[in-house]
Amino acid sequence: MPERGKPERTRVGTLADFAPDTFRIVQVDGNSIGVVRTRDRFFAVLNYCPHMGAELCRGTVSDTTLPTNIPFDYRLGYERSVVRCPWHRWEWDMTTGEAIGKTTSMRVATYHVEVDGDDVYVGQRRKNSAAVREAVAS
């Protein structure tokens, strides 16, 4: 049972196990979850693209162009926080689970990641992605 007051979490490796921008796929409670360390953050997302069921974390971690209504207006954003599906290139914001540009209401499930000393843990599934985004922004 989880200790009182502490979220349930699963150790998924040490810091040294995580090469930059490279997903490490772990099984947690029967779910395949991709954990990735970017330049300054960790993300964990369900290894399943809501569009057509691809193993999402066999895709890439990257920036991407910011949504715009101006044709050919290419400006990069989302610093290392985007996972791009290996199949149809759907892009998901790993901080919120939302589709870049909100092109669909579907979401990728995201999880809390905690670093405790040298150890990396995947915690509970994030519930309120919008709130998470605000917290990250602040």
Partner: protein
């Protein structure tokens, strides 16, 4: 604190992803020859020199390719374990596609054939395509009997194409003829000898977008002018499919060759109902047989003799809207399943059959119509 056991996932997706069908014939799978010396070594020195000059993919474009895919046209998870390009290894394709999805047969459609579209040297075209065919027979058909091949022939020279068809028709596993669509009317009599051979030998003629549309010399141009972006190119492929189907119908190909089967792979199919309606209307209003030489409605010819592959299955927000299309094209007769593995816009058989296609159509689209279309498929199915 609860500590869970963490297991590394296996390197690839070997979970069972078989759809709820009794068989599965994938009518559009792409092999890729990355070591072109295997093809070059089968060619004469003179022709091989042409290949060197022209390049093997998209050589001699009218300008640098303006419609490159922004993130690459191949599935990112289909790189082989040794770093090979997607589609370059028959073993890996078996591991990623045939086995997990329970594929009964996979029709290989070599897009590298399209390189010949802008070539002016027709002897080199014939030698290159023969080399490509022989390499694929040797490397892919021998790797697994579930692999079947659409052999590639010249769109420029019907005599050369017929010779190649006759040379390979009886090779086990050869099931179709792939013609890279050129900037020509496919109904023109110049190609009729090829259609006659195809009909006689029970090999359907298969067409597939080449990637050269609107870009490569001697590939079909799109109405409306040169496209500027990859999405425009991808969307407009339906346009070249429509033009080709109309060309076959109005060129009298189905009148002349009533047992010929055509397969349009990856052009989409949601445009087919409106094309059939317009063809029928024009046929009726302009005097039917008297004017065009057609003795039956174009829609009947299309339903009898043309087959369309499912990928990329259109994705309307309200999926029920597709039902009207399935109904109008008589999908149980005219649609063949295709995944397009390992290209970026591949469809997943599990999702397509279990979630997107109406249940009563599943078996027909999964394998029933394919068995009827590819007379030389030689598969064991109920």
């Amino acid at each position: 604190m609860v500590m869970h056991n963490v297991a590394e996932a296996t390197e690839t997706s070997q979970t069972d992803r078989r759809p709820l069908t009794q068989g599965l014939i994938d009518c559009d799978v792409h092999p890729l020859i990355t070591d072109m010396s295997k093809v070059r070594n089968r060619m004469s020195k003179r022709a091989a020199r042409r290949l060197e000059v022209l390049g093997h993919i998209g050589g001699a474009a009218r300008e640098p390719n303006r419609v490159l895919h922004p993130t690459g046209p191949l599935r990112l998870d289909a790189m082989t374990p040794s770093g090979g390009l997607p589609g370059s290894d028959p073993e890996f394709t078996r591991h990623e596609l045939l086995d997990p999805y329970g594929v009964t047969a996979a029709v290989l459609v070599p897009v590298q054939a399209a390189a010949v579209l802008p070539w002016g040297d027709e002897v080199a075209v014939g030698e290159y395509l023969a080399g490509l065919n022989d390499t694929l027979i040797e490397e892919w058909l021998s790797a697994d009997t579930r692999y079947k091949l659409a052999i590639s022939v010249s769109p420029h020279d019907a005599k050369s194409a017929v010779r190649e068809v006759e040379r390979l028709a009886d090779v086990p596993g050869v099931v179709a003829i792939n013609i890279p669509l050129a900037e020509v009317h496919p109904g023109r009599p110049a190609l009729h000898d090829l259609y006659a051979a195809a009909e006689e030998l029970e090999l359907p003629v298969l067409m597939h977008p080449t990637g050269g549309e609107g870009n490569l010399l001697d590939a079909p141009n799109f109405a409306g002018g040169l496209v500027r972006t990859y999405p425009e190119h991808h969307i407009m492929l339906a346009q070249s499919g429509q033009a080709a189907v109309a060309g076959f119908v109005l060129g009298g190909v189905f009148e002349r060759f009533p047992r010929l089967k055509l397969v349009f792979a990856e052009f989409g199919f949601s445009w087919v109902p409106s094309l059939m309606w317009r063809l029928d209307a024009n046929w009726e209003r302009t005097g039917g047989a008297e004017v065009t030489g057609l003795t039956r409605p174009p829609s009947e010819m299309i339903k009898d003799q043309v087959r369309f592959t499912t990928q990329p299955l259109d994705e309307p927000a309200d999926r029920r809207q597709l039902d009207a299309v399935f109904d109008a094209v008589e999908a149980g007769r005219t649609l063949l399943f295709s995944s397009d593995y390992p290209h970026w816009d591949a469809d997943d058989p599990l999702v397509i059959f279990n979630k997107r296609l109406p249940e009563p159509l599943r078996e027909r689209i999964a394998w029933g119509s394919a068995v009827e279309t590819f007379g030389r498929l030689d598969v064991d199915l109920p």
